[in-house]
Symmetry: C2
Subunit: 386 residues, 2 copies
């Protein structure tokens, strides 16, 4: 298999944009990625789109050609990938495989979601479609309640505390406040985080990620052609996708996600690195507990230590293992179908030393972890400086 | 790139099944395909699911792991592909690429749609999501009306007649009547077809395909391992996917689909064959006019001759170029996300000489054409006897 590089990256700001529809968001990100790769739509040989629920949020389906033709791409394979909140991570995984295999030299991967045009209750209902309609949604479960159960069990089994969860929120808000593209640029205190109104005990408002509009795109190419497109290509060292049961009650243990462990092992193996080698990461903090569990499943810390490590500052920008220097889904925003590629854009920005005030000291090997549902899909991507 | 073979195929009957949900349909087809390949879920290295609008039809999203785990597959990449009515054709295209590239040896591709749980008006609305929400759906267009415009223009430009359209319906019903898995096993006369109630002039009831529940699945593997799984492997000789504008008004000419022409040329080139070499085909007759246009875009007949050729019997089972010996979407049924893989199953059945009363005399080289929307996506697959 050939080496693959990211040679262009572009994102919209994340937020609530009443004047922008799904396609205009995707076009902004796609155009930025093309410009960043100093190329145009004619160079793109295939278009990979991650989107979770555009048809329900906006009534538009068949999204891939709807967007790619608007970007000026003609005739090429143009496909939408859906894997819940890991939709664009999955699109990236499949695009990587195709370029690595030599099927294409240059492709675009984009992710988009337009969520704020629906009322919050409807958004929650649409998102619940990523859970099990029969055993979870039918009995009233929504994602906050599913992750609340995970948090409660993690507290029971490992002594994780409410303040550990809140510490994740405080840290991600601290980072997001420095990110000009973040949806909620607001520093919060531990007290504020702990005393916010409850959503699903033990999770409160600050434990939950945001409802967002946004898009992100990257141009991938065969590494031996990377310098045609960029002076700062980024190497894709490892990518893996794995799956597990959708319904939480079918999992043997709800405080660990086998799909995350499998995807991590696959990506580490491909990259020839270990968890300890990863210098920084963008993790899927749809809820604060999800960041803690991800830390453990990725092997960044021992099982059960994620909460303590976060509370002690290990994941802050100056800590041992900086996590979500972008602000994460919590503060940056979480347009679900865009999140996977957005994480990759954030890693690329750090590797290229273009993260401004959020720039990390050690920034040569980063990891993105994109989760779908309560652990049914995971994509892990490892990127390194050229 | 390696050679790839279909070593297992399985379908549910198509119809309206009030007692079967989306997952049970997919599991039936998947289990049949595994049995047909004399293997089990542990052999499958990746799961490719085609589904157009499950979340809207059934409220369940994140469908790929929901189904693959129920089939007993664990940990593997499991992804949903959406490309309107070409969703499972697109899943097949991507699965073929991965096996051909040597990424996996053995994968499953499935397609499923559960449509009849919604009232017809809502089904029409959901299907309209494959058109352009802004320029088409907002002004009241539905797919029957879009294809009606195509038919009207084809009549104007080439002298195609109402009885040409009806001849397609008569032929497909004649074939479907012999297919035990078809939804509507009913022979109709030309008079019946021509005098049915209007849907969108010039299309009437018999010009439109059906609203269906159903699923189909195949097991694909590296050709050098095919005999482990089947005594009758089928060679995948060529596959290509192409795209075009979603909105009909952006096309230069609505009586021909560039995406179909591009996908056909790609598949012919890969297979090293010409249109004239294809012995039989399953074409995407979502409307009778679509079969006529496909005949022309695939190069089976000259531009403008599709209607005449059909009326003269050229596409009947005993004709020069048999089309839709299965009954097609018109009579067999059209559970949209399942259709692409179902077409491939029908071709496999002919190539293996297992099509019973519908068995064609010449059955060593077949083609499947799967269309999304009014020509925005097309996947063409060419299969041959081993």
């Amino acid at each position: 298999m050939r080496k693959v590089a990211v040679v262009g990256a572009g994102k919209t700001p994340f937020g609530a944009f009443a004047d922008k529809d799904l396609r205009s968001l995707a076009m902004t990100a796609g155009t930025k990625a093309l410009e960043n790769a100093r190329t145009g739509p004619d160079a793109i040989e295939a278009f990979y789109l991650g989107n979770f629920a555009g048809p329900q949020f906006t009534s538009q389906n068949h999204l891939a050609p709807w967007i790619s033709t608007a970007l000026g791409m003609k005739g090429i394979p143009s496909t939408r990938f859906e894997a819940a909140c890991a939709s664009s991570g999955s699109a990236f995984f499949h695009a990587f495989q195709a370029v690595s295999a030599g099927i294409y030299d240059v492709v675009m991967v984009a992710g988009v979601e337009k969520m704020t045009s629906q009322p919050t209750a409807r958004v929650t209902e649409i998102l619940a479609g990523a859970g099990d309609s029969q055993t979870e949604v039918l009995v009233g479960s929504t994602f906050p309640s599913l992750f609340a159960m995970i948090a409660r069990r993690h507290m029971h089994d490992f002594g994780t505390k409410r303040e550990h969860l809140s510490a994740v929120a405080v840290k991600n808000h601290e980072n997001g406040a420095l990110n000009p593209d973040a949806q909620m640029r607001k520093v919060i205190t531990l007290e504020q985080a702990m005393n916010a109104r409850p959503i699903a005990e033990p999770l409160n408002l600050y434990d939950c990620s945001l409802i967002s509009d946004g898009a992100a795109a990257v141009v991938l190419c065969a590494a031996d052609r990377a310098r045609e497109f960029s002076d700062k290509p980024v190497k894709v060292l490892g990518v893996a996708q794995a799956s597990d049961f959708v319904a939480l009650d079918l999992k043997e243990d709800i405080t660990t996600f086998p799909a995350v462990r499998a995807a991590a092992q696959g990506a580490y193996r491909m990259a020839g690195v270990a968890a300890a080698d990863i210098e920084f990461a963008e993790l899927h903090d749809c809820f604060t507990i999800a960041e803690i569990v991800a830390m453990e499943d990725l092997g960044f810390v021992e099982r059960g230590r994620g909460g303590f490590f976060s509370f002690e500052g290990g994941t802050r920008r100056g800590g041992e293992k900086p996590v979500n220097a972008s602000g994460g889904l919590k503060s940056k925003g979480h347009p679900v179908g865009a999140t996977g590629v957005a994480q990759i854009c954030d890693i690329v920005q750090q590797l290229r030393c273009e993260a401004g005030e959020r720039q990390l000291k050690r920034h040569s090997l980063g990891l993105a972890q994109n989760l779908g549902g309560s652990g049914a899909t995971c994509v892990v991507t490892i990127l390194g400086r050229d």
